[in-house]
């Protein structure tokens, strides 16, 4: 383990629960190649063991450690302190747009409920007794799905989206991006139901294309592009029905 150097980072961490809270300040020793998650973990292990936060894989795969870092939603396990520290200070808060359970841990229920509302579950027609569907990687629909498929459900896009904060009924970038990948899946049999779900109030037509989701997505996905694709699908379904 590398020896801590004499430099310390001043870290403001939001403490509280759904009823409210305030910032607590900590001085954390700086380490080489230190991530924001390392900083939060140091605080919990060495300064205040009652600090609550959420993480699992620590390698950017599980999507559970997202927090607001200096006002921007980030995956803390893959965010190096030296990339985001300002005047030797860090401010760490729970994700925007989600209710807080305690300290840095948010209640993700509404985020995943919206995936369900957007018909985010795959509904295939084949059984396991049938052959695997043959889908060419070059197919346009497969390529469109491919561009949207690497979502890790971290809710960073959801926290970055102002439309979510203005309209709590809005499905949000992640759920709509998921719907887009399924609308481009030729094996799925619920395209019509899903299109109705994502065209309803609070669906894709509520997006203002501010592209905060695309700016901060740690996997460099572009939910705005997916939502624009859904808008085109919704518009063409509307004109076909006339």
């Amino acid at each position: 383990m590398p020896m801590p150097n004499s430099d310390h980072i001043k870290v403001k961490v939001w403490r509280g629960d759904a009823g409210g809270g305030s910032f607590a300040e900590f001085e954390v020793p700086q380490q080489p190649a230190q991530t924001v998650l390392d900083v939060v973990t140091w605080i919990q292990r060495h300064a205040d063991s009652t600090l609550s936060y959420r993480f699992a894989c620590r390698v950017g795969m599980c999507g559970s450690c997202a927090m607001m870092v200096n006002g921007i939603p980030r995956w803390t396990c893959r965010t190096h302190v030296n990339k985001v520290v300002q005047d030797n200070r860090l401010t760490v808060e729970p994700l925007r747009n989600l209710p807080v359970i305690k300290d840095l841990a948010c209640d993700m229920s509404e985020f995943f409920d919206k995936w369900k509302r957007a018909e985010g579950q795959f509904s295939g027609t084949n059984t396991r007794a049938q052959a695997v569907a043959a889908i060419s990687p070059a197919e346009p629909a497969r390529r469109a799905a491919n561009a949207a498929i690497e979502c890790i459900n971290c809710a960073i896009c959801y926290a970055a989206c102002d439309v979510v904060s203005w309209n709590p009924g809005y499905l949000g970038p992640a759920a709509l991006n998921r719907a887009w990948s399924l609308q481009n899946d030729s094996r799925d049999r619920r395209h019509g139901e899903r299109l109705r779900a994502i065209s309803a109030d609070g669906g894709c037509l509520s997006c203002h294309s501010q592209q905060g989701c695309a700016s901060y997505c740690p996997n460099e996905l572009n939910p705005t592009a997916s939502i624009a694709g859904l808008k085109k699908m919704a518009a063409s379904a509307f004109f076909r029905s006339r």
């Binding site: 102002d162 592209q211 592009a225 624009a228």
Partner: protein, 112 residues
């Protein structure tokens, strides 16, 4: 401005909204001046002569900028929602501002 909003396409969104609001606020004045024509030629000419002042010309420069930036920003959004996806939207938003500024400057040069 909150940190997560400090990105070019949020600023483009803000500019589009504020320019639309500015144009909406201008409309009553526009209709009032046009409405003076109902009171006769002299009243309308009097209202028009008021627009010859340098401060009004400068305000018109702002107005032309708002109109142009709202128009080209709106074209960008129409393209975003109706044409194949492009990753160039930051450039398009900057281009909309540049063209609007160019048109507004052209208007000001003709006015002076």
């Amino acid at each position: 401005m909150k940190a997560h909003r400090r990105q070019p396409l949020y600023l483009a969104f803000l500019l589009h909204r504020l320019s639309g609001l500015g144009l909406a606020l201008f409309l009553p004045l526009h209709f009032y001046v046009l409405g003076r024509a109902l009171a006769g030629e002299a009243a309308f000419d009097e209202a028009l002569s008021w627009t010859e002042g340098p401060l009004v010309k400068l305000a018109e420069f702002g107005l032309v900028f708002l109109l142009a930036v709202h128009f080209f920003g709106g074209l960008r959004l129409l393209a975003l929602e109706n044409m194949p996806w492009s990753n160039q939207h930051k450039n398009y938003a900057a281009l909309a501002v540049a063209i609007a500024f160019f048109i507004a400057c052209g208007f000001l040069l003709r006015a002076v």
